[in-house]
């Protein structure tokens, strides 16, 4: 049976892993390759490196980070953050990424999804959607959650799929870093609307939050950062808990 995936996210700035709350108040959480190694030993299913640097020099350093992680880990690796062009995606893939995650670039230039899907296959193209509750809908935000994109999350996920996206990485801005639990309504709404896998993100703080997002939230995978970085929970402890609750995981 297909396992529910547990994905660890490394938000990388200037070569080191950082983590914030509601996309702000960043603090350092260590060396990306060292963390990646630890997660792999604990049985993580996949890694995401999210580049949150703005400068060009730092972006070149990111390729070194990708190479360092990809050299020793033989599990899927996705890279996102600031991938605005086909060239930037190619640079990440050449450095060893298996997938690239597009966010603002896909909103501004949706044709980029198809361009990359044609070149590398849909399995290499993840569309990341940052969504926030507004009245009774989920509004999409661009530029690290700062700019309203004027789109509905469910509609945008459907469009991304039709343009060739292989997966949706769905982050609840309201829950990001709060440890209050995933937004299961948001996740279920998007997961029902598309046939491609949906990765839930934002809000993981307790083991049962993962149970909830895989059942009520209908998520195919769940992504977390802080819960693993500060060793509050090991990947193995989480997976053991999920299996006890009847959720298929790779152990």
């Amino acid at each position: 049976m297909l396992s529910k995936r547990i994905i660890a996210c490394l938000d990388v700035r200037d070569g080191s892993v950082v983590k914030g709350v509601r996309f702000e108040a960043l603090r350092s959480a260590g060396d990306p390759a060292a963390l990646a190694r630890r997660y792999n030993a604990e049985g993580i299913d996949e890694l995401v490196i999210l580049d949150i640097t703005a400068t060009l020099e730092a972006r070149r350093a990111l390729a070194d980070t990708i190479r360092a992680v990809a050299r020793e880990l033989f599990i899927p690796l996705a890279v996102g953050g600031g991938i605005r062009s086909e060239d930037a995606a190619a640079a990440a893939i050449d450095a060893g990424a298996d997938k690239v995650s597009l966010n603002t670039a896909a909103l501004e230039n949706p044709a980029l999804i198809a361009t990359l899907a044609t070149r590398y296959g849909s399995q290499a193209v993840v569309v990341a959607i940052d969504a926030k509750r507004e009245d009774d809908r989920f509004a999409v935000y661009a530029r690290s959650g700062r700019t309203p994109a004027g789109r509905d999350a469910v509609d945008w996920a459907r469009e991304a799929e039709s343009r060739g996206a292989g997966e949706i990485l769905l982050t609840s801005i309201d829950r990001d870093g709060t440890k209050a639990g995933f937004d299961c309504e948001l996740t279920a709404a998007v997961s029902r609307a598309v046939a491609i896998p949906v990765i839930a993100s934002g809000g993981a703080g307790a083991l049962d939050h993962f149970v909830d997002v895989f059942t009520a939230g209908r998520a195919d995978a769940a992504l977390a950062a802080s819960i693993f970085h500060y060793a509050e929970t090991s990947v193995r402890a989480l997976k053991t808990h999920l299996r006890q609750r009847g959720i298929p995981v790779r152990l």
């Binding site: 297909l2 396992s3 033989f74 060893g96 590398y120 296959g121 399995q123 290499a124 195919d220």
Partner: protein, 197 residues
């Protein structure tokens, strides 16, 4: 040297890296003639079956000659599907026909297609490619799959039960990505490299 056939279907970096991790040197041949020096051939690939069209008559002839001389070949994902007669994904493109049957789209019987993530392989018969590999989980990403036949070594269930590992003599295929399947994947690559002796 193990030849990693590049026909434009995806990225070869991770396969090359994984082969290096099990002690094999892989190189990308520039022309079919380069296959003459290869101890083994790996046909990787992701994406659309139509991409295999780039493996034209020259490549096919060189690959068939390689196999005819008893040298091993491993197809990964789309590269495995290409070893069958064809695929419903691109009916106008012929496969190599080394294994009987056609690849078909996985039915979405209460599951999502594409099939993405870690799933079980159940080994149905012993074979060199699964030496020291027990029932395990490996990483898949595909929508089309090969039918279960007498050459099938292991199967996986997702919407339907399909062939996830196949082997006959020196020719093997895996539907999943051994280069992305942790230690189990590396063991399968090691087994293939051992075949190249």
């Amino acid at each position: 040297m193990i030849a990693l056939v590049d026909y434009g279907a995806g990225n070869l970096t991770s396969v090359k890296k994984a082969l290096a991790a099990v002690g094999a040197h892989a190189a990308v041949p520039r022309s079919p003639a380069d296959l003459a020096d290869a101890r083994g051939i790996v046909v990787p690939g992701v994406g659309h079956f139509g991409a295999t069209r780039a493996l034209d008559d020259w490549w096919i002839e060189a690959i068939v000659r390689h196999i005819g001389e008893g040298r091993p070949l491993l197809g990964i994902c789309l590269g495995m599907q290409w070893l069958y007669e064809g695929s419903d994904e691109a009916p106008e493109v012929r496969g190599l026909g080394l294994f009987s049957g056609r690849c078909y789209r996985l039915p979405a019987n209460g599951v999502k297609v594409p099939h993405v993530g870690w799933n079980d392989v159940s080994i149905s018969r012993s074979s060199a490619i699964v030496q020291d590999v027990g029932d395990a989980q490996v990483y898949f990403t595909h929508s089309y799959a090969a039918p279960v036949t007498g050459d099938t070594v292991a199967t996986t269930e997702h919407g339907d039960r399909f062939a996830s590992i196949v082997q006959r003599g020196q020719i093997a295929g895996v539907q999943f990505h051994p280069e992305k399947s942790g230690d189990v994947g590396l063991q399968i690559l090691r087994n293939f490299v051992a075949l190249t002796g």
